[in-house]
């Protein structure tokens, strides 16, 4: 069987137009253009905040982390050489910053681990208005979501980040490998372990 052809997610598009626009934006940011930096933030803030939220499980922590991520992006953007899509490069920074923060957290609050139920209770807002779902179904969804977050939170950070990047953010193995700074083989084994653990915990879902 031929191995040459493979299907990549649609996100991996590298239209030269998009790439050159991105390259121009990166150059302007590297030159210290505030407008360009603002543009870059606007384009990626949702993605950054969501990934941070999924990895940390707290809105305000995620917001704080997002700010750190973008500051880090602008401090190091002159080093961005287009070795990946800008999006993947930013993902990598988010994951690294989140990992550092988790380590710091764990050292600091080893004893008092905050449960995700609590996070959901504190921050779990209703989905965006206009959702046609009935209230009881919404309640069921919230309950389910809380269970899923609890299960996710029980995973080691490396497995959690791999499964989040794959299933929620839709990154390819290559992109996950770049974002986590690991080999594609390691991505596969981490995903396999994460899925196994999650399915064991959510057997009845």
């Amino acid at each position: 069987m031929a191995e040459g052809l493979s299907v990549k997610p649609a996100r991996a598009i590298t239209w030269s137009e998009v790439a050159s626009r991105e390259a121009a934006l990166v150059q302007r940011c590297a030159a210290g253009d505030d407008d360009a930096c603002g543009e870059l933030v606007s384009e990626h803030q949702r993605m950054v905040h969501q990934l941070a939220l999924h990895l940390l499980g707290d809105y305000n922590e995620a917001l704080d982390l997002s700010q750190e991520v973008f500051l880090r992006v602008f401090r190091t953007i002159h080093r961005f050489r287009g070795q990946s899509a800008l999006r993947t490069w930013i993902y990598r920074i988010v994951v690294n910053q989140a990992r550092n923060r988790m380590r710091w957290w764990r050292r600091r609050y080893r004893a008092q681990q905050v449960s995700l139920d609590e996070h959901i209770r504190n921050h779990g807002d209703l989905p965006a208005p206009g959702n046609p779902a009935a209230p009881d179904r919404l309640f069921g969804q919230k309950q389910l979501a809380a269970r899923i977050w609890k299960a996710l939170d029980g995973l080691p950070f490396d497995q959690k980040s791999a499964i989040v990047l794959r299933e929620i953010d839709g990154l390819s193995y290559d992109e996950i490998a770049f974002s986590l700074g690991i080999a594609v083989g390691t991505v596969k084994s981490r995903l396999a372990r994460a899925r196994e653990a999650l399915r064991a915990q959510l057997r009845d879902v």
Binding site: V7, G38, H49, L53, Q67, V164, E167
Partner: protein, 240 residues
Amino acid sequence: MTPLSCASVRRRLTAYHDRELSIEQLIAIEAHLDGCPPCATEAAGLETLGESLRLAAATLQPGTDMLAGLQPGIISRMKAENAQSWRAQFGRMFEDMHLVWIGLGSAMATIICSALALACLHFASPERDDSLAGIIATMVSSRANLVRQVPADTYDDVVGNALVRSMSEEEAVLALAAVVTRDGRLIDPRWVENDRDRQQILDLMSAIETSRFDTTRAGGASVNMVWLFAHTTVRGKIVG
């Protein structure tokens, strides 16, 4: 295309789910799943897990207003950091300037000192004739002026002979015992002969005592270094 076994499908199921297979493999697995409920259930389980995770993520969607402050916050922090880094850079520069001033000051002081020293050497008279070094130099350079060295117990005869030899109408040769100070003065001069006019000698003595031991003005005094403290012969013109 050979049909795949359940085992080989299970091995590739996650890659199939993650769309990381080649088109041929994808088609082969789909074909297998169509006809194999256990493998299809396994694949559906992966799909359900993925959907659950996306659903859970959807419940955590932050409102747009939540991110409203993010961009201005980042830009203002960047500006502040840049300003601070500029300030820090300036600070470092001034710290450096402090050292540079010290360095420059030292260098300038060295240059000025060197210049002054050179100027002193340049403008100073080569050597004062009445300085001890001058006297010695004169003495060394003009051997003719060298005073004969006389042992203490025989100087009367020697000085007497020299006196007779160098006597002229304008000149008088006296044998004196005195000490020459560093600045060229004679201290405690005593004449060692009595046969001259006493008053004339006293005048001369007082003149010597009040004047400096100046070789040029004294008409070429010679000092023997070795006998400096024991025997110094002053040969001067008697004025008046």
